[in-house]
């Protein structure tokens, strides 16, 4: 039972991550490979504020979000005017810089030793310290976020994002300040990723930089590419599929030493296959064409 609860909690965390990345990749057509960096910024900010300053989870979380949003502005502003490849490279660069900071700036983040002893979230005396309670809180977050993102996707703002994806020049010719819209999308996506980070930190109570690598960014990207980009249903399907997949592999009895490699190989193969056969994912509406 605990096992199932754990899976559900991870699904809710990854739902938040994949839906927010979808804003960038699926709606706006921006290939962002640094989502895990903002995930990590949220997690570390939360963890540090809670362990070093004793802040409450519900106070640390918004602060993490604000930091992530501010940093995303720093990245977005220069890189969003660039052609596709350059944007990807800038994203890669940012991802690596963030990881480097988390790993090397030991004075701040304790580097590879990570941050232990993160308290579980608590509010007004109630501590979410068992699995069902935590699932409750992570689900509430996930549902609220999904709702907000759905609203955004059907709003005029979401419509402009999709237009940018379809034909950027035509959007400019209609008077839309494309750079501005891209930056806003980036900020929103990053802030939400930070929320997932705080949740994750509060759940696992120990974090280290290896959870926020380029591999993680690619995993989140794979979720939406598999499930489908450009609408709200796709990432739901993708998240469930990709979170459960490793568990299925475990049942197949693949030895633990090579299991992570086999997993990654499957992701890699999936990406190639998907791009070739079904770039819009299982139930997506936007093909990367």
């Amino acid at each position: 039972m605990n096992y199932i609860l754990h899976i559900l909690i991870m699904i809710s965390v990854y739902l938040i991550l994949s839906q927010s990345l979808n804003i960038l990749v699926g709606y706006t057509g921006l290939l962002s490979v640094c989502h895990a960096a903002f995930y990590g910024i949220g997690a570390y900010t939360s963890a540090l504020l809670m362990t070093k300053l004793g802040l409450n989870f519900f106070l640390a979380l918004p602060l993490g979000v604000i930091l992530a949003m501010t940093l995303s502005l720093l990245v977005a502003y220069p890189s969003l005017r660039l052609r596709g490849d350059y944007f990807v490279l800038a994203g890669l660069g940012f991802q690596i810089i963030v990881f480097s900071i988390l790993y090397n700036w030991e004075g701040l983040t304790r580097g590879p030793y990570g941050i232990p002893g993160i308290p579980k979230p608590g509010l007004l005396g109630l501590e979410f310290n068992n699995l069902p309670l935590f699932l409750l809180i992570s689900s509430i977050f996930a549902i609220v976020i999904l709702f907000i993102l759905y609203r955004i996707s059907v709003s005029p703002f979401g419509r402009v994002l999709k237009a940018i994806r379809e034909n950027e020049m035509a959007a400019l010719a209609l008077g839309k300040n494309v750079s501005n819209f891209k930056i806003k999308a980036f900020i929103i996506a990053s802030g939400i990723a930070a929320i997932a980070g705080s949740l994750y930190a509060g759940y696992v109570t120990y974090i280290d930089p290896t959870s926020f690598t380029l591999d993680e960014s690619i995993f989140i990207m794979a979720i939406i590419l598999v499930g489908g980009t450009g609408n709200v249903k796709g990432p739901i399907v993708g998240t469930i599929f990709m979170v459960i997949l490793p568990e299925i592999l475990r049942f197949l009895g693949i030895p633990d030493t090579i299991a992570p490699n086999v997993r990654q190989m499957i992701y890699g193969g999936l990406l190639i296959l998907l791009m070739f056969i079904r770039p819009q994912g299982i139930i997506g509406e936007y093909k990367f064409e």
Partner: protein
Amino acid sequence: MILQLLANGLVAGCVYSLVALGFGLIYNTTKIFHIAYGVVYIIAAYLFYTFARVLGLPLVMSFFLGLVFVILLGVAIEILIYFPFYQKRASLGVILVASLGAYILLVNLVAMLYGNETKILSLGIEETFCLGSVVFTRIQLLQVVTFLIVFPLVLLFLGRTKLGRVIRALADNPSLVTVLGIDVRRLRIYIFAMGSFLAGLASCLVALDVGIDPYAGMNVFLIAAVAVIIGGVGMFEGAVLGAFILAIGQNLIIWQVSAKWQSTMVFLLLILFLLFRPEGILGKRQRLEEA
């Protein structure tokens, strides 16, 4: 001290140049952001290692065999993955993701087969030479000499031979080449063969020096990509310039700050360039719409 660092930087620059040249060759002509280049790089070294240390073949023979096979690998990636996408007229985004997928697939295959630790190919304590106050190892000398031989050859090839000129034309004006009826398929195979050769060359030289691990490829790819961009997109010579700048910069960071921050420096440099001079040092200014 600073002279030693400069010297180390120059040597590293020679190796980076080979990689950047290979990547730039592929990127400027096919516009493919060949992320899988990173894994082609490491596989060359692993093949070299396998032939030399596992199968016990003579060093030079292992080296050549490794190069040959990695050229085949690079060409295979083009034939099996990139060219079918090209025929489908897939967008560059799709190809990029597929390249990423290929990278992940192959890197993990290597990690699975060989493990995550660094595999060493060197031959014990290295002989050193002194030039004034600067010390070079034998391998470093080999790296410099290789660069000094290969780089002019590549330039000559691009400038003087017919194939080289067609490749240059493809970089400048892709649509023109197809219109002229040149067999793009074969051209691309040559390009990937050359690019993979350069990567493999660099990789084996580095493996002899510090060994190889499965994750070195991504760093190498990033350095190559950044070198091409800061040197000047579209210019093959730019890649070399960018490579040297990065190599020397990295060594300065090691000296002034710490080796830990090398990658950060590479990317901060990239971001600076993207902000202020996106066309690179030698590149020509191009507006988004004109591209």
